[in-house]
Symmetry: C2
Subunit: 198 residues, 2 copies
DNA sequence: CGGGTGATGTTGACAATGTCAACATAGGCG
DNA sequence: CGCCTATGTTGACATTGTCAACATCACCCG
């Protein structure tokens, strides 16, 4: 029995999660409805209750999936550009690009409904994403290219900046001055480099 | 006729708005229910529809009120500390303190449900808050204490950082390392000063 | 001063939604 | 083969936002 995937539907949990992500990305968070998730899968509402405690658990799973994707993207940018100062900036760009590409999904990851404290998997994936940032900073500190402050505090500072840009961009609060988000992110990265240099 | 406040209830609009703010602060955003707003005022649901287009218009009004309060707080910090570099840091502290003191209210101000484009008052109040930051920066540029970059871009950069700290703090994502938010904000302000100096 | 008129508030109803209890089914294990 | 548990369904219910129809009150115009 390779998987437990052969009862009635076959890995319905993964299908539900995938459909939930699709719905959120295409129609927004409000469109995430138990009935709307079940129907495309030929399954009726409440089927979900055999795989998730309730709707908020489904949202938490969506958020976890988001953090997993985000971690992959930023790590690819960091590792794929040589783990230097330039690669660090690409890491920031990748972060903001992810948020811009999946605005509703990103919002679920930081929504008030999903409490990281209640879902251990979500806490784990969120911590993993943050750890990628911490690791990149410690690496640069050993390099001598980043000042030897507490790496966690540096990481929180930088995280706040990119998260803030992402949030403001998603909320369309940067459009007033026809701002190019890519350009703003580049500018922020440049200034941050000054701020965290020795 | 000094006011229009003398029909049945007497300025019900303001009472509804005030009760909505109270509800959000004390019970969270989900507790903001048309029935829950009307009942304490001895008024029935749907009474609200004579003063707000719908529930989201009420939320927008709450958000506008929040921006008004926020603008007052940061301007008081800026003006009350002498409009210098130190005052600018106090401005940032005041921003984050407001968010920490009114987490649910702050979240409504940046929630996805409230689209600034649909409510002109909200757009105005939001722009006013942002303008306070821009003004403080231009002032310092004329001082020579801030580099002569585009002040709007500088403002967006700094706004993103404090907004990010506020959001992460509200989402309790800074508690993992038992972080003191005040301390993190101070650290961020110090690093930002380096980043925006000439 | 009196009736009408529009602003303001109420009641009833309805559809959508999350959730639970009771029921149905199926697939593997004894 | 027969049962047992995992899995999925149906019916029901409370909550909620919203609308239409109705009620009421203040003020204005004659």
């Amino acid at each position: 029995m390779a998987k437990k995937r052969a009862y009635h539907h076959g890995d319905l949990r993964r299908a539900l999660l995938q459909e939930a992500v699709r719905l959120i990305q295409r129609k927004g968070v409000d469109a995430l409805t138990l009935r709307a998730v079940g129907e495309p899968l030929g399954v009726s509402r409440t089927a979900l209750y055999r795989h998730f405690a309730d709707k908020s658990a489904l949202r938490a799973a969506v958020a976890s999936e988001g953090f997993r994707m985000l971690t992959l993207q930023v790590l690819e940018a960091w590792n794929g550009h040589g783990r230097n100062a330039e690669a660090f900036q690409e890491m920031g760009m990748a972060y903001v690009r992810f948020a811009m590409a999946h605005p509703s999904h990103y919002r679920v990851m930081f929504g008030e409904c999903v409490e990281a404290s209640t879902d251990p998997e979500l806490a784990r994936e969120g911590a993993a994403a943050f750890q990628a940032l911490v690791d990149a900073l410690t690496w640069q500190q050993q390099n001598g290219s980043v000042r030897p402050d507490n790496p966690l505090r540096l990481a929180q500072f930088i995280w706040a900046t990119v998260h803030g840009i992402a949030m403001l961009a998603i909320d369309r609060l940067l459009e007033s001055q026809q701002t190019d988000v890519e350009e703003l992110t580049r500018f922020a990265n440049e200034r941050l480099r000054i701020a965290i240099s020795v």
